[in-house]
Symmetry: C2
Subunit: 252 residues, 2 copies
């Protein structure tokens, strides 16, 4: 299978590397900035192109990995392309590519950072397509790079994308508050890393609601009050502390 990629950001980079590692030939890479396309192309033996319309017709699948609001614009110059065009966004509906003949969604549900390599075989790939044959082809490609393949319609994918904010973006922000609290008291962030790891590890085998711990679920008013006092210098963190504690108490 031959694949081309539109984009050179985090998702594009990790997809290109995963495909290359799986011996799937990446033909062309396009990016808004040609230099970025060249840089990524160089790492996966692909050829950078200056225009989307220059992407080779030999590509079986073109993956669009650009910002959500740029996806529709990428599809326009691909009107005469006969292969499958799939975007990689969690939030954009399938029909954003509806002016094409063969299209789909190839959404990797993971948080990517350019600096950090990832074992792509564990990344859940959420697939959707406008025809059964196209879905099958996307599945074939997905199977080459991951063992977690899911068929997910556009509405479910929206929910998934929202759930990912609660499961990833918000926890990471809260890790950041913890790290800053520690730093302000001459404590190393390292000291709390085993706790972060174990908290995530626990929910591999248990429902989060079943393993909730902490002062709020115990309704430990004394500790809650002490924590609120400690946060007096940080009114915004205090607001978060109060709101989340209040919600956790309600689940008792």
């Amino acid at each position: 299978m031959l694949v081309s990629i539109i984009g050179s950001g985090n998702v594009a980079t990790h997809l290109a590397k995963a495909l290359n590692t799986a011996n799937v030939q990446v033909l062309n890479i396009w990016s808004k900035h040609f230099k970025n396309a060249q840089a990524l192309a160089g790492t996966v033996n692909a050829k950078a192109v200056e225009e989307v319309s220059q992407i080779s017709d030999k590509s079986d699948i073109i993956l669009i990995a650009v910002k959500d609001d740029a996806i529709a614009a990428m599809a326009a110059p691909l009107k005469n392309y006969s292969g499958i065009v799939a975007h990689t966004s969690g939030a954009v509906a399938l029909n954003a590519l509806g002016n094409l003949e063969n299209y789909g969604v190839f959404y990797p549900l993971q948080t990517f950072s350019k600096q950090k390599d990832i074992d792509f075989s564990n990344v859940p790939l959420c697939l959707e397509a406008n025809k059964a044959a196209n879905l099958n082809k996307l599945k074939q490609l997905a199977n080459l790079i991951s063992k977690n393949i899911y068929e997910v319609d556009s509405q479910q994918r929206q929910t998934l994308h929202l759930a990912a904010v609660f499961a990833c973006n918000f926890p990471n922000y809260l890790y950041g508050i913890a790290q800053q609290l520690l730093a302000q008291n001459q404590l190393d962030f390292d000291i709390i890393k085993p706790l972060i790891a174990e908290t995530a590890h626990k929910v591999k085998t248990a429902l989060p609601t079943a393993v909730q711990t902490g002062p709020a679920i115990r309704n430990d008013e004394q500790t809650l009050k002490k924590h609120e006092e400690l946060l007096e210098q940080h009114p915004e963190w205090l607001t978060i502390y109060k709101l989340l504690s209040q919600q956790i108490k309600k689940t008792r």
Copy 2:
């Protein structure tokens, strides 16, 4: 070294097992409910006692692992005991045991569930004591069961305990929201587990603020609005979504 334990909850259980595994003899276990003391004692070849005052004087260290507001009461019957009494709480000051001769704090910074075994060698142990000799003895014990030993004073420990709420209790609550959102849309919680794992894994080598992802940090207003619409049926989760997104935006 000979150790006795007051308590039979999550912390007491994991400590007893870790000590037993490290071939540290656990002499006595006391619990409010004698049956619980017996059950735990049975798993670590210890002897359950019905009164705190019956704990053997041969114990070099007595660890108090009970609810915060019960700690001081446990110390009272130990007035004539000459060994070290250490509580295991993140939130209670060292001087809660101030009526004793030799006392300290032996705080394992981890989230424990009875059902789930844990590799105790990674659990950070935060130590404090009223005398250098007592601190050294607590360190000796700590070294037998963990490789992460920290000297932490009572004020730092309070901050640590607060940071743990942000790093563990709150993220776990948010995992629960994600899980429920998925369930309500016929999606398996499994699909999002690699994301949870990677989010926690990332901060082992990066500062959380440096690897923040998601619509809020991108200021992706369209997605934020769509997510808020999806949460219309869940006003409380919507409040959380708005507050945390707003805060993340401010860190841009």
